[in-house]
């Protein structure tokens, strides 16, 4: 290979490249890369049968089922209501719209422990909402449903914030054309609006789902933390750490980390698809 023309950096008259890049790489390595690789190194010291036994233990399997199931259910609720919220906030001018728009980010800004105790107080049997649900035999707090409720709260901004720009970009001329050509409102929605916003909707769904997989603070209070029934995977990691079972905690953590990396990869693919579609639309 001819390395003659290869240069690490194109020359520039601006100073400070070595200092700033060096500082960044050093800080990144110390805070993120070295600690994170420690997790993988630790996994390498665990024997395969032991690892497999830990990650397929019935209690672990029950925790994956709950975590993935509740994250998925929450993401579906968000995808549907998130669309309605985003549509209303973009399309309809009404009093208080700007305040509502700002408040959508509340789940990001509110510390998860605060969300957790507030949701528990609301959905517990004597809470405002829990009291209304009880006559129907619905137990919201301290049940898998409670986990799904907390995860819906946490992920809502992802869906709304990814959908809003897509709805803004939606050309209302196309909608009008469809209507003029005799399409019903529902047909216009299904055949014109939905295909256009689908990539954004899926991206928001995937982001909310990925965030929900690792969520801890808002869930521990409302779930009740019963092993096999309402114990999420993050909590199982903590339970193992509290018994000083480091290899066990690491094994479950690797399963969850790899899952969320896979989700991240999916999100990047979706965004790539999204930008390609949008590029085609404007060309």
């Amino acid at each position: 290979m001819n390395m003659k023309g290869w240069r690490f950096k194109r020359s520039s008259i601006l100073p400070g490249f070595g200092l700033t890049l060096g500082l960044s790489v050093l800080y990144l390595s110390m805070i993120v890369l070295i600690p994170l690789s420690g997790l993988f190194l630790k996994t390498a010291t665990i024997s395969w049968p032991r690892f497999w036994q830990t990650v397929t233990d019935p209690r672990a399997i029950a925790s994956y089922k709950l975590t993935f199931g509740a994250a998925f259910a929450g993401a579906i609720v968000k995808a549907i209501f998130g669309f309605v919220v985003a549509w209303t906030l973009v399309r309809y001018p009404f009093r208080g719209r700007r305040i509502l728009d700002a408040v959508v980010d509340l789940p990001f800004a509110l510390p998860t422990a605060v969300s957790g105790i507030a949701l528990t107080a609301l959905y517990a049997q004597n809470g405002w909402i829990g009291r209304l649900l009880e006559p129907f035999g619905i137990k919201a707090a301290f049940s898998p449903l409670g986990v799904a409720i907390a995860l819906t709260f946490i992920g809502l901004p992802f869906v709304v914030r990814t959908l809003q720009p897509a709805i803004e970009d939606l050309d209302s001329g196309v909608e009008e054309a469809a209507m003029t050509l005799g399409a019903s409102r529902f047909q216009t929605f299904r055949q014109v609006i939905l295909p256009f916003i689908l990539p954004a909707s899926l991206t928001g769904f995937a982001m909310a789902f990925a965030r929900a997989l690792g969520e801890y603070g808002s869930v521990v209070f409302i779930s009740g933390n019963m092993p096999m029934r309402t114990e999420i995977s993050s909590l199982l990691i903590i339970a193992k750490l509290e018994q000083y079972d480091y290899p066990g905690a690491t094994s479950i953590a690797i399963v969850m980390l790899v899952s969320s990396f896979l989700m991240l990869f999916t999100i990047n693919l979706l965004q790539w698809w999204f930008s390609r579609r949008l590029g085609k639309g404007t060309a």
Partner: protein, 284 residues
């Protein structure tokens, strides 16, 4: 712009109602609950909650943690964005991806990696014990975990903005004899100040509110290694609901201030970028 007015009235009313109901149920009600539960036994009990030395030490530790981790990530964000946005070098995209990495790691796992490094059974555990140094179940661990969790916040706000603004102004400043520092302080920094502040506001909110990662490394020693969110948990688990919600109400206020600052800064950034575009259009 406003295409919505062409939708029939019944549809508008229906969708606005669903939005109000959903956001009311999921966002406003939990927020109101925090303040109502905190004030349930009156203002006296509310303020008495802050007289507890454990509550005070939790507030102090939260301020200390944010006070260390936000400036660290701010300096890093500025250094990284200068290197990435002002120079062309190999591996730039890998660096940008790696900066976002902590967002993909869940809070509990973020805490776990530091326990594996510095815990009693960790890689450096024996060495730390031999030298009588404490990182896990002590303040340094809390700060480290918080820095990890809030690592990308500042950098990811200013890197794209600096990349958008080209280097012409910096070249001009250097050609006219300004030093590197002068160029940075007088040219680059003013151009990104709102985005910088935006990143700092978000970084600070997360640093003060982080629960999962800090919970793993803290050890929950009352009055010593409890941040505000951890103190809320302890009080809540002791069925001391008024005190738990009182401390939580401070964090909720912080969240409201954060939202207000965020909205104001977003409006400001939009108007600056709009002004820039108009200037460029008239120049062309």
């Amino acid at each position: 712009m406003q295409a919505g007015h062409r939708d029939p009235r019944w549809l508008r009313v229906l969708l606005i109602s669903v939005t109000l109901l959903f956001l009311g149920l999921f966002l406003f009600l939990p927020l109101i609950t925090v303040f109502l539960e905190a004030l349930r036994k009156g203002l006296g009990a509310y303020f008495a909650s802050f007289n507890d030395p454990a509550a005070r030490s939790a507030i102090f530790l939260t301020l200390l943690t944010a006070g260390i981790s936000v400036p660290c990530n701010l300096v890093f964000g500025l250094a990284a964005s200068w290197a990435i946005a002002k120079f062309d070098f190999k591996g730039k995209n890998i660096l940008i991806t790696l900066i976002d990495l902590p967002f993909a790691v869940s809070p509990v796992i973020s805490g776990l990696i530091f326990v594996l490094m510095f815990g009693a059974q960790g890689w450096f555990g024996p060495w730390l014990t031999a030298h009588n140094l404490h990182i896990i179940f002590a303040v340094p661990g809390i700060v480290l975990a918080t820095i990890f969790i809030t690592f990308p916040f500042v950098a990811r706000e200013i890197i794209p903005l600096m990349q958008e603004q080209d280097t012409d102004e910096e070249y001009a400043a250097i050609s006219l004899g300004a030093s590197g520092w002068q160029t940075f302080w007088r040219v680059t920094l003013p151009n990104v100040k709102w985005a910088l502040l935006y990143g700092v506001v978000l970084c600070n909110a997360r640093a003060m509110g982080e629960f999962g990662a800090v919970s793993v490394v803290s050890g929950h020693i009352r009055g010593k290694t409890n941040t505000m969110p951890l103190h809320v948990e302890i009080l809540y688990n002791e069925y001391n609901f008024v005190a738990a919600f009182a401390v939580a109400s401070l964090l909720a206020l912080l969240a409201l201030v954060t939202l207000a600052a965020k909205t104001a800064l977003e409006a400001r950034m939009r108007s600056t970028s709009h002004a820039l575009e108009t200037v460029e259009e008239t120049l062309v």
